[in-house]
């Protein structure tokens, strides 16, 4: 599904006189369909940067990111060009960040339904599907018409997850998806991720919480001083 080869990232900061800061280096791994790879390491070790390089939010300094796309065939996302990355993001690759960023004053259910509408779903059906997913994530129906910006951190996090999984992407990148959730919500999220995994979605996740990681990860990759070590959870 995904093969990352010798991926590295450096940032050149012009404000600091062109100083070069290393994000991570020499990261390689393979990910099979339905496999969950956990990324661990201290904060600042480059975990989020690895996810962002795969998603295309960061431009890798070197290395390859081979993704087996359904639409485009095998494609190196590190070199594929903007249009190809956009097409892969549109339905095949999802990303859950730590923070929710949405247009103000859009109802929660509409935020979650939007990816379906973009894919051409009928509005009523998309909203019903979004409502069902939110319900499952313990966002009660009375909040579906409210604006996510007024929600608690944990609720916003679940909106973020709902939006990323509603189209069942084939590759899902998760950056601390359960960080601000209580135990029960965390278990619900893990349950949803497990279902996706069983249907073949591959995932790479950063989890703050060791128990959550052990509950779902098949393999673990530890980043230390910007480079990597393989292991089991």
């Amino acid at each position: 599904m995904l093969e990352v080869r010798n991926l590295s990232k450096t940032f050149v900061i012009h404000i600091l006189g062109g100083k070069s800061i290393e994000g991570f280096r020499g990261v390689s791994f393979r990910l099979c369909p339905g496999e969950f790879l956990g990324l661990t390491g201290r904060s600042g070790s480059g975990k989020s940067s690895v996810l962002k390089c795969i998603y295309g939010t960061y431009l890798p300094a070197s290395g390859e990111v081979w993704f087996a796309s359904e639409r485009l065939g095998r494609v190196d996302l590190a070199r594929a060009g903007e249009q190809a990355v956009l097409r892969v993001r549109d339905g095949e690759m999802g990303y859950v960040s730590q923070f929710l960023r949405v247009i103000p004053r859009i109802a929660a259910a509409d935020v979650v339904a939007e990816p379906l509408l973009r894919a051409g779903s009928e509005a009523g059906a998309a909203r019903r599907q979004a409502a069902a997913l939110l319900e499952r994530l313990r966002i009660p129906a009375r909040l579906h018409d409210a604006y996510p910006s007024t929600f608690s951190g944990g609720e916003q996090q679940r909106i973020n997850i709902a939006r990323a999984v509603i189209r069942k992407p084939r590759l899902l990148l998760l950056d601390e998806p359960t960080a601000s959730l209580d135990r029960e919500s965390q278990e619900t999220v893990i349950g949803i991720l497990r279902e996706l995994k069983e249907k073949g979605t591959s995932m790479i996740g950063i989890f703050h919480d060791r128990a959550a990681l052990e509950a779902i990860a098949d393999n673990v990759l530890e980043l230390a001083n910007g480079s990597m070590e393989h292991g089991r959870p």
Partner: protein, 279 residues
């Protein structure tokens, strides 16, 4: 996939130019004004593509050439050099550099295939003519002739942009800033344009109105799958609307990429400064 709009080497110099700065204006290192003859580079060697259904953002500080670029594409200014192609989707259509066409042909292309929304509604609307009349004017230019159909289309568009249809016969001068902006959007979309140009459309609106206009633009974009160029100095607006973004400075494109990449991993010195200056 073929690009819908293709621009190559688009250049606009304000001034006569001299031996020091011709052909393309002073070098980017010198800024945008020639020290010898005073010629200013409004737009220097700008190339870009817009794909069908795509929203392209243009950011940069005031004076960076964003609006000049939009006005060149809309044929409001005559380019000094460059090529613009608008692919109408027909494979066999002759590829014509629009900048080489007659003024009449360019007006025709603009009326039929382009829409524009300005920051200042006074530029896009006749304030004393009814809102319906403003839309009718654009439709007439695009070749519509049947009065009852024009009226129906105007009513439909005003409804879509949340202007009460019973106010269709009122002039925009009676409306609030947010409403005027929505009438402009209705007018710009009336001819089902291939490309919609939005020049700082939410700048100056208060926050609640801004959110509503942004939401409207996003919904219309999704429903109509119209390609857009969104000019804004507000990085938040760009993040919410655009898949790809170009960054301009001194009339030149200094960086381009996926919007999240440009905003989170900017490479050019100027983009880094711009992004780190955001509140």
């Amino acid at each position: 996939m073929k690009p819908l709009l293709e621009i190559h080497g688009l250049t606009k110099l304000f001034g006569s130019g001299c031996g020091h700065c011709l052909p393309g204006g002073v070098s980017p290192e010198e800024g945008n004004r020639c020290g010898r003859c005073g010629t200013v580079v409004g737009c220097g060697d700008v190339s870009l593509m817009v794909y069908p259904g795509e929203v392209l953002g243009v950011v940069g500080e005031s004076g960076s050439g964003k609006s000049t670029l939009v006005r060149l594409i809309h044929f409001e200014l005559d380019a000094t050099a460059g090529e613009i192609y608008l692919n109408n989707g027909k494979e066999d259509a002759a590829r014509e550099n629009l900048l080489m066409q007659s003024p009449f042909r360019r007006r025709q292309i603009r009326s039929r295939h382009m829409g524009i929304v300005y920051q200042n509604p006074w530029l896009g609307l006749r304030m004393q003519v009814s809102s319906g009349g403003n839309i009718a004017e654009k439709l007439l230019a695009a070749g519509w002739r049947n009065v009852s159909e024009i009226r129906k289309r105007a009513a439909f568009l005003l409804e879509r942009t949340e202007i009460p249809v019973n106010r269709m016969d009122e002039p925009p001068a009676n409306f609030s800033g947010g409403m005027q902006q929505r009438v402009q959007i209705a007018k710009a979309l009336s001819n089902n344009p291939q490309v919609l140009l939005l020049d700082e459309v939410t700048t100056g609106l208060d926050l609640s109105v801004q959110a509503r206009v942004l939401d409207l633009i996003r919904n219309l974009q999704r429903e109509l799958a119209v390609a857009m160029i969104v000019v804004s100095h507000d990085l938040g607006v760009i993040r919410l609307l655009c898949q790809r973004t170009i960054v301009m400075r001194h009339g030149r494109v200094v960086e381009s990429g996926l919007t999240d990449q440009v905003l989170e991993d900017p490479r050019h010195e100027y983009t880094q400064l711009l992004v780190s200056s955001q509140l």
